[in-house]
Amino acid sequence: MNHVKSLRSALIALVGLCVPSLVIAAELPDKQAELQVKPKSEDTVYLNPREMSAIPQGAFGDKVRQGYQLFVNTQQLRGKYVGNELNCSNCHMDAGRKPNASPLWAAYMAYPAYRKKNDKVNSFQDRIQGCFTYSMNGQAPANGSEELVALSAYSYWLAMSGLMDQYQVAGEVPELSDAELLKGGKREDFALPAAVKAAMNIDELAKLPGRGFPPIDKPELAYSPERGATVYQAHCQACHGDDGQGLAIAGVYSLPPLWGPQSFNWGAGMHRVNTAANFIYENMPFGKSIQLTNQQAWDVAAYINSKDRPQDPRFKGDVEALQKQYHNHQGYYGQSVNGGAVLGSQSYPVNPDKK
């Protein structure tokens, strides 16, 4: 193991954690734990949020629109809260509206959520912070910040407008205070129109069809990065590049990097082979002109996740210890693939300064 390098990454991680205004526990919670969602079925009807043009004028509407803009062009927070070249909408497709691409409307109604793991109730803003820390390889905005309010407002508006339309409730989406927006919709005191309340209870609302990335069946053969490389060349390389680094046009990585220093880090949900396989099967190749087989999705998920990426922000200098504590799942952290260096031992920095 390269001690100098790990020390450096540890230092970088530490510095990242110590920014005073940001209240983050010394022990970063596992905010990227797997969601348990139902497999997809053919006749499912998904919530259909209103068109963007239906967002009302005024201060509340402005927050909703700002949330959309932050979600799609998250790079405006680069160097501040974002440490890679991704945008939220790269994984939560159609700006967080698309069912089965972990849509914001389904997520909003599932928080606050109790988590056994840290015996803590995670609010919606906690969950968003998780994606900043891991998927965006950055430093999450503080509790109650303008950015988290805006992202919550957008998510809430998508959920509520969809529910109101589904149950024929006319009128504007009711406005909420910032404090309420940040909590999420899974709570007894969350204001719901009577027609919605009559149709669905709080647990049903927390499991709206289309939430998360629907699980696909296990592969027939054990997943293999070697076979995945072939799938990659045939069906992914055209867009994500032969080296997985994506393509920037006019400075914007519309075609996002899948591994390496500019992608999600080792703590992000997408680094798990199963989560990536589910995402890929449902959403890639982008535009879905073809459908991969189950086996191809698993193999290519293994391939992209057997490459190095930014360090897990919970890393404290010991890859093995971290691997034991947080990586007991389908992933390659702490392993050597094809005789290469142990993944995690030479990973890229967490939240590097853009310059």
């Binding site: 963007m52 043009s53 967002i55 629109r65 700002q66 959309y68 803009q69 932050l70 979600f71 799609v72 062009n73 405006q76 945008n87 909408s89 497709m93 159609d94 700006a95 509206r97 698309k98 069906h235 055209a238 867009c239 393509l247 920037a248 046009i249 006019a250 914007v252 519309s254 075609l255 190749p285 982008f286 535009g287 879905k288 002109s289 073809i290």
Partner: protein
């Protein structure tokens, strides 16, 4: 090779000699008749080539040669460039300047009142049409294998989308563009062609 020499001889008569940023290889002179000497396009003879990448131009020549793209004027022209002869010509046109445009980024606006702009910057996911700019880059300025649409001739953009629908243009990996073109209505094609052509 023989046909190139013949072609260029013919061409020299009609072509004004301009100072170029990259010296024009003799084999590119023929192309200039229809595409303009600096590849700016001559409507309706040929589309603009400036602003396209070497990679893309090379690939398209091969698609014409193998019949996956078909066009009465361009198919025979593609045949004059074989093997190593393609790259210098592709490099030449790829190096030509295009007007700089102030790009509009995805997420820069939340609401578009014009349905065409909505399609361009947000897509229509109910029909599985992603925003055009996701692949073609901000404002459609293009890069790599994704051709520049900004400032391209409207008539050309339109014929290409129709060619995919008619099955006469193929060769894009996994039909990634063809499958999108197939979902567009005739009115959308007209509006999109006009929209991109006007980005100057």
């Amino acid at each position: 090779m023989r046909s190139i020499t013949l072609g260029s001889a013919l061409l020299l008569l009609s072509m004004p000699l301009l100072a170029e940023p990259m010296a024009m290889p003799p084999s590119a002179q023929l192309c200039g008749t229809c595409h303009g000497p600096t590849g700016q396009g001559v409507e309706p003879l040929g589309p603009r080539l400036a602003g396209l990448s070497t990679e893309y131009i090379t690939q398209q020549i091969k698609l014409f040669q193998t019949g996956q793209r078909q066009n009465v004027s361009m198919t025979p022209m593609s045949m004059v460039l074989q093997g190593d002869a393609i790259k210098p010509v592709a490099d030449y046109f790829a190096s030509q300047e295009v007007p700089e445009v102030t790009v509009h980024l995805r997420g820069e606006a939340a609401v578009y009142s014009d349905p065409t702009q909505e399609l361009v910057y947000q897509g229509d996911w109910d029909r599985m049409i992603p925003a055009c700019v996701t692949c073609h880059g901000p404002s459609g300025v293009g890069g790599g294998q994704f051709p520049r649409l900004a400032g391209q001739q409207a008539s050309y953009i339109k014929t290409q989308l129709l060619a995919w629908q008619a099955g006469t243009r193929k060769g894009d990996v996994d039909a990634m563009m063809g499958s999108i073109a197939n979902k567009l209505t005739a009115d959308e094609i007209d509006a999109l062609a006009k929209y991109f052509a006007e980005i100057k």
